[in-house]
C-alpha cells in the first residue's frame, strides 16, 4: 500500500534520525524541518520515475541546502530510487551517500553543500526547458540562512526578469541558522516583499500542514510569467519535542537514549 504523505514523513524522519545517529552526523534539525515538504513533493507533486532517474522529461528537484542530505536520501530510498539498505551506510567510509547531498546517488540532480549554488543551476535548467518548449518543471529547496548568499539574489533577479514560471522555490523558513536566529544574524524581513519586488509570485504557508503544502504546490505556477516561491514557515527539529527550535540540533547527533526517545515519540504520533 502506498503510504500517505503523513506516513511517509514519519518514515523518513525515522530513517534520518537513525542515519545521523549511526554516523554521528550533524544537521538533524535541518532534516526534520523539511520532512513534511519532501514527503508531499515526492508523494504528490514531482513527476519523476524511480526506474528511470534520468528520464529527460522528469521534473527537476534541487536540494540547495545540501546539508539536509539524510532526509532526501531517505525519501528517495522510500520511493525506490535505490535500495533502502544503502541508508545504513550514510557517511560511512567508502559510502556513496556522502554527508552533503551527492549527484552520484540515483534521483539526486545536483551535489550541493556550499550554500547559494542550487538556485542558479535551477535557473539554467528552467531556461533550457522554456527555450526548448519542454514541459518539465524545476524545483529548488533553499534554507533561510542560505538567503544570505548574494548568488541567490542574482538568480532571483534573473528568474523574475526571464519570467521563469516553470521554476518554483521553496524556502525552509525555520528561523534558525548556523550560529543564531535569522532575525539576529542577518534579518531577512520583509521576506515576502523582497521576492515580490523581484518579480516572483509568493505564497506563505505552514510548512507542516500537509493539505496546505499539497494544495499550494498542486497549483503551479501561481501566476503566468512569474516564478513561484513558497515561503514555508517551519520548525527546526520538527516532530521531536526536545529538538524543536533548538539551534544545537544543527550540530549534535542524538545519543543512543535520545534516539530511542525520538523514535518512541514518532511512534506515538497519531
Amino acid at each position: 500500500m502506498v503510504p500517505t504523505s503523513q506516513q511517509l514523513a514519519k518514515i523518513i524522519r525515522s530513517h534520518a534520525l537513525k542515519m545521523v545517529h549511526q554516523a554521528n552526523a550533524s544537521h538533524i534539525g535541518s532534516c526534520l524541518s523539511i520532512a513534511d515538504i519532501l514527503a508531499v513533493l515526492y508523494n504528490k507533486i514531482l513527476r519523476v520515475d524511480s526506474r528511470r532517474s534520468d528520464w529527460p522529461e522528469r521534473d527537476r528537484f534541487i536540494l540547495s541546502k545540501g546539508h539536509a542530505a539524510a532526509i532526501l536520501y531517505a525519501v528517495l530510498a522510500e520511493k525506490g530510487f535505490f535500495p533502502k539498505e544503502w541508508l545504513k551506510d550514510y557517511c560511512k567510509d567508502g559510502a556513496l551517500l556522502t554527508g552533503h547531498i551527492s549527484h552520484h546517488v540515483p534521483g539526486v540532480e545536483v551535489s550541493t553543500g556550499s550554500l547559494g549554488h542550487g538556485l542558479p543551476i535551477a535557473c539554467g535548467m528552467a531556461l533550457a526547458a522554456k527555450r526548448d518548449g519542454k514541459p518539465y518543471r524545476v524545483f529548488a529547496l533553499l534554507s533561510d540562512g542560505e538567503l544570505d548568499e548574494g548568488s541567490n539574489w542574482e538568480a532571483i533577479l534573473f528568474a523574475g526578469h526571464h519570467q521563469l514560471d516553470n521554476l518554483t522555490v521553496i524556502v525552509d523558513y525555520n528561523k534558525i541558522q548556523s550560529f543564531g536566529t535569522v532575525k539576529d544574524v542577518l534579518n531577512l524581513e520583509p521576506l515576502a516583499e523582497k521576492w515580490k519586488s523581484f518579480g516572483w509570485s509568493v505564497r506563505e504557508i505552514n510548512g507542516h500542514d500537509f493539505e496546505t503544502i499539497e494544495t499550494t504546490l498542486g497549483n503551479l505556477p501561481f501566476e503566468q510569467n512569474r516564478p513561484s516561491v513558497v515561503i514555508a514557515h517551519t520548525v527546526k527539529g520538527k516532530g521531536i519535542s526536545f529538538m524543536e527550535n533548538k539551534l544545537e540540533w544543527h550540530y549534535k547527533s542524538p545519543k543512543d537514549e535520545q534516539l530511542k526517545d525520538a523514535l518512541n515519540e514518532l511512534e506515538k504520533e497519531s
Binding site: V110, S114, G116, H117, P120, I121, G124, M125, R131, F158
Partner: protein, 308 residues
C-alpha cells in the same frame, strides 16, 4: 584572438544547435554576430558571474554546450567555487572564455590583470585549460574544445594580435606545437608570449646561440611526454607565461623535469613574480616591469647557455 574566437563560435553554432553563449554584460562590438544569428541561444545574464556559472551548469545538465564570456578575472576567479562545484564536479559541458588574459588590460590596473587564472584553474579536476598564442591557435582550439565533452577554460588576449603561425600547425588536444628547432636551449611559451619567444630566439641567434621555440597552448591536459623529450634534447628549458609564475606553465614543466632520472636539464620559469603592478602600464610596459620583454629574456637565455 577575440575575433577569430567569435567567428569560429558562430560557424560551430551554425552546425550544432546545442551551442549556447552567455555573457556577463560584456562583449560590446564582439558578440553581436552571435546574438543576431542565434538569439534563442544567447543570454546576457547581467553583471552576475556567480549566477552565470550556475546557469551555465544548469543548461549543460539539460544537454547544452555552453560558452560563458567575460573579461579578465570576472568569469573565473569571481565565481571560482561555482566553477569547481557546479561545473567541474558535475563534468558540465561548459566552456569558460576570458578575454584580456595577462596584461592585455594593463593600463586599467591590477583588478584587470588576468594573472592567476592558469595556475588556479589547472588545479580543478575535470577542467581543460588552454591559452592560445595567436588567431590561428585560437580558431583551432575553439573548435577542439567545443568537441571535448566537459569543462574547459579558454584564455584569450584581446583583438588584433598578429598571426604567428604562417602555416596551420598540427593541433592535438594536450600537445605542444614545435615552432622552431634549436640546440642550446628551448623556450616553451603559453598564450600570447609566443611572439616574444620568437623575438628572443632571433636575438640569441644573432649572438650565436641556437634556441628552439615551442608553443604550449594546453596547460591541461599537459604535454608531459613532450617535456620529457625536450629535457632529453635540450640542456635548458625556459618557460614564458604572462601569468603568475607560481603554479602555471613553468611549474608544470618543472614538475615533469624533476621526476626524470638522470636529469641534466635546467628549467627557468619566467612569469609574473608574485606581485601586483600598481601603476597604469600598457601591455608591453607591464611585461617589461616583470622581465617579460625580449631583452631580459634574451639575456636570461644567454646567461644560462654560457653557464652550461
Amino acid at each position: 584572438m577575440r575575433t577569430s574566437f567569435i567567428e569560429t563560435l558562430c560557424e560551430l553554432a551554425e552546425k550544432d544547435e546545442r551551442i549556447w553563449l552567455l555573457c556577463g554584460d560584456l562583449g560590446f562590438s564582439v558578440l553581436e554576430c552571435f546574438i543576431s544569428r542565434f538569439p534563442k541561444r544567447f543570454v546576457n545574464v547581467g553583471v552576475a558571474e556567480q549566477n552565470m556559472a550556475g546557469i551555465a551548469a544548469g543548461l549543460a545538465m539539460s544537454g547544452k554546450i555552453v560558452f560563458t564570456y567575460s573579461i579578465a578575472n570576472f568569469p573565473t576567479l569571481r565565481c571560482l567555487e561555482q566553477i569547481r562545484n557546479d561545473i567541474c564536479y558535475h563534468k558540465a559541458n561548459v566552456k569558460i572564455v576570458a578575454v584580456g588574459g595577462g596584461f592585455a588590460y594593463g593600463a586599467q590596473g591590477a583588478t584587470h590583470h588576468g594573472l592567476e587564472d592558469l595556475a588556479i584553474l589547472r588545479t580543478l579536476p575535470n577542467m581543460t585549460v588552454t591559452a592560445p598564442a595567436d588567431p590561428v591557435e585560437s580558431k583551432a582550439i575553439t573548435k577542439l574544445i567545443s568537441e571535448l565533452p566537459g569543462p574547459c577554460y579558454l584564455r584569450l588576449g584581446k583583438a588584433g594580435e598578429p598571426v604567428v603561425h604562417q602555416t596551420k600547425p598540427d593541433f592535438t588536444v594536450g600537445k605542444m606545437i614545435p615552432v622552431k628547432d634549436g640546440r642550446d636551449a628551448l623556450i616553451i611559451s603559453t598564450g600570447g608570449m609566443l611572439i616574444t619567444a620568437l623575438e628572443a630566439q632571433k636575438q640569441t641567434e644573432a649572438k650565436g646561440f641556437s634556441v628552439g621555440v615551442w608553443s604550449s597552448p594546453w596547460l591541461k591536459p599537459f604535454d608531459n611526454e613532450g617535456v620529457m623529450k625536450a629535457a632529453e634534447r635540450y640542456p635548458v628549458i625556459i618557460s614564458l607565461e604572462e601569468a603568475q609564475v607560481t603554479g602555471g606553465l613553468g611549474s608544470a614543466i618543472a614538475s615533469v623535469v624533476a621526476g626524470l632520472k638522470p636529469r641534466h636539464c635546467q628549467v627557468i620559469s619566467l612569469g609574473v613574480p608574485d606581485i601586483f603592478l600598481e601603476k597604469a602600464y600598457c601591455q608591453q610596459t607591464a611585461r617589461n616591469q616583470v622581465g617579460l620583454d625580449t631583452a631580459s629574456i634574451t639575456k636570461t637565455i644567454i646567461d644560462a647557455c654560457q653557464s652550461k
